[in-house]
Subunit: 455 residues, 2 copies
């Protein structure tokens, strides 16, 4: 939200009481800011704002509300108002609203649609979840290669008046097969009497409707295009996906990765609107799994109870050693998970990344070992200072390398088994690295000090 | 990288030996894919590919190479070739390349520029790092409000032939002050004899060149626009920022957050190209800071040495208890850091978020407490099972709430002191939560079992 947006919101809120002033204020406010203001106000005022809007802007404002708010608002409208808003929504926004509904509620809303819209919505909802088909709008302009530029421009003008997107104009054959995408600019620059086919370079980036939406993000980002045509398997043009939708998807996918990586389930909902019970359900699963992983740390510690009893001072270094392992692992996992998500690194790069991490981890391990060895010297005093320094230094060196290796390999391993690399969350990496850290530390200490050792 | 891209790369690589075949293959390959292929091949072949390209595509391909590779490639070209590529780059790509250079190297490259380009580059480099000014291109088309649509379209055609971006046309007054942004489509739909001012709605979203680039991302995302005009403080139009640049910035900012959050410094470089020494320097700082935080955990454990000696079985639960605290904290920090980054939650929401987290943490704490209490019952047997279950259950309940609170408040606190909320990394949260977890667990255990207690 920009400052401008916030200011507009404040003004709308202040004018809620005065009908004339409100209508004027709304007229000069962007639809996105009106939607923003609506999400801040009590339910009864939301309806007041929506009704103060001219008919043609209502659906636009509605499309910028969160799905949760859309539902609340539409439930308060009468059936006729709801029908008019649903009719005026562009197809991809309508799909977005409909797919957010519970299956039981969906039916009621489908009944409000006109036959043509209903047919189209059912078709779009028929594409897999998170597919390109769910994102696309069917409002595009297509022309034929044999038309003259004059005829094409007449057609474009006609369609633009109907509100279609015309930055790109698509050329299709009589079966609707996509032949090329031509910029509007090129039609204006061209001589008006030539045929459309003389403008074509037949080099068109396209995507299939069944493809994962993340693939559309990568394609648009890779080729720096603003409009991506969507086809069926035989190449027939079905719709377009625009860069503004793609930016929202890219943000949502990053958020999903971020949440997973921090050890929560995917939320797909605003933190402002999420209920405590919903958040509880999304978090408890991983917390319980991680307790079970920590159980192994506990069992490993128990194995060394006798070593600890014999030399209780060893526990002082335990947090540092296991933190060193877990933190080095978190770092390398972070770098890998993100690099895999952005396409910077491919699954086939695992060996190269592993080698690089080994080099980095050796350097990190050496530095960290020197640091804890110094603490060991101080803590052990003249009596056992050197031995202690050697034990904790050696342990730190080993666990940092271990942590780094786990962190770099686990994301690749997960991807290999078709799981999201972000499942290698820092809490998971830390918990796994803990077990190894405890085992290594006490094994080295038991051996060096001749302690009773593990059971 | 899409499949198509990969295929194109393979074909280029296969044709490297045959000059004619290579030129043909390159002609039908997108510049982004040629750049992708170049990043996979040995240095000597890169030059071969670049020289096989027609003059006008070289700068385009060059602009899609990583900054590291751009430097390598340009160093191998002779001065004249380098000069021609630098001249042909669009202003924002040229700024991107120049700002990636070390200050000592910059001078040499500036000497290769022509006077006009030099002046412009120095001006663009004069904007603060990560500002909108560094991102913008100065290639835009502006018209005057008193012109007729016919005259404006003639002007647009002329500029479009020169390669300028014309999806949006900007209206400025005689001083260059931005008055409005009008879609190309509207010029085509308008009657040709009316004045440009009749198309204006004087409602234009703009941004100042000094603003942070992240603000440009949020503005473009909020208003769903493809081109954002950039002005100076008095409103004079200086350039435009386009959505494809913004997508790259959004991805880079997400990556930066991700890296910080995983406990690494900002990298701003491809993982493929980063050297081990570079990665070491970016990671060692946080690892050392975290060792120091863990030192407090060690000191806390030492305080309870006597309790532990008296009842060594307590250490079995230690990993679970501190993992519970750290993991709950990682989860809530993840949700807050991301919600603050995307603008879902504002700094002023801290109290509401804190209250919500308290409710969630109580539910999580209760569930986790029951889980470890059951393990306590089993582990303690008939002798001390009930007491042990009570101790570990109570400790788990308390530390989960503590962890959740730290995780939700630290990001807000950091932002309050103008630091990046993502600095509240999971390793940091975990390390801080560890100290509290150890203290709470042994305090409860010492009190319940009448152990010697902390020093």
């Amino acid at each position: 939200m920009t400052d401008e947006g916030v200011t507009a919101e404040v003004l709308i809120l202040q004018n809620l009481g005065r009908e004339q002033a409100l209508a004027e204020k709304l007229e000069e406010t962007a639809v996105q800011d009106i939607a923003g203001a609506m999400s801040q106000m009590p339910a009864e005022n939301r309806l007041q704002v929506l009704r103060a809007l001219p008919e043609e802007r209502r659906a636009d404002v509605f499309s910028y509300l969160s799905h949760g708010l859309q539902r609340e608002v539409i439930d308060e409208l009468d059936a006729d108002e709801a029908r008019r808003i649903l009719k005026a929504l562009v197809p991809d926004d309508r799909t977005g609203f409909l797919e957010s509904l519970a299956p039981g509620d969906l039916e009621g809303f489908l009944k409000l649609l006109e036959p043509d819209d209903l047919k189209q919505s059912l078709k779009l909802l028929g594409y897999p979840e998170e597919s390109v088909g769910r994102l696309m709008t069917t409002r595009f302009v297509s022309v034929r290669p044999e038309w003259t530029v004059t005829r094409a421009l007449d057609h474009i003008r006609h369609e633009a008046h109907r509100g279609e997107t015309v930055n790109f104009v698509f050329v299709t054959d009589q079966r609707g097969k996509l032949l090329d995408a031509i910029r509007l600019k090129d039609f204006i620059l061209a001589r008006q009497d030539v045929r459309v086919e003389s403008l074509m370079d037949e080099d068109v980036i396209q995507i299939e409707a069944d493809a994962d939406r993340e693939q559309a993000v990568q394609t648009i980002q890779h080729y720096d295009i603003s409009t991506l045509p969507v086809t069926d398997r035989s190449g027939v043009l079905l719709g377009i996906v625009t860069v503004d939708d793609i930016m929202d998807v890219a943000e949502a996918e990053s958020t999903e990765d971020f949440h997973k990586f921090g050890g929560s389930g995917r939320l797909n909902v605003s933190m402002r609107e999420a209920s405590p019970v919903f958040l509880y359900r999304k978090r408890i699963g991983w917390l319980m799994i991680l307790v079970i992983v920590s159980l192994f740390s506990g069992l490993t510690l128990s194995m060394f109870e006798h070593s600890m009893e014999a030399m209780i001072g060893l526990v002082f270094f335990l947090p540092m050693i296991i933190a060193g392992s877990g933190n080095a692992g978190s770092q390398s996992a972070t770098l890998m998970v993100r690099a895999l998500a952005t396409g910077d690194v491919a699954a086939s790069d695992w060996l190269r990344m592993w080698g690089k991490e080994l080099a980095v981890a050796v350097l990190l391990g050496l530095t960290m070992a020197l640091m804890v060895a110094a603490i060991g010297l101080w803590r052990g005093g003249s009596e056992i200072g050197y031995e202690l320094a050697l034990v904790v230094g050696l342990a730190m060196f080993t666990v940092v390398i271990l942590g780094g290796m786990i962190g770099v390999l686990l994301p690749f391993l997960l991807q290999r088994f078709d799981m999201d690399p972000a499942t290698a969350s820092t809490p998971l990496i830390t918990s796994i690295a803990d077990v190894g850290g405890i085992l290594i530390y006490f094994s080295i200490a038991s051996a060096m000090f001749g302690l009773p050792g593990g059971d």
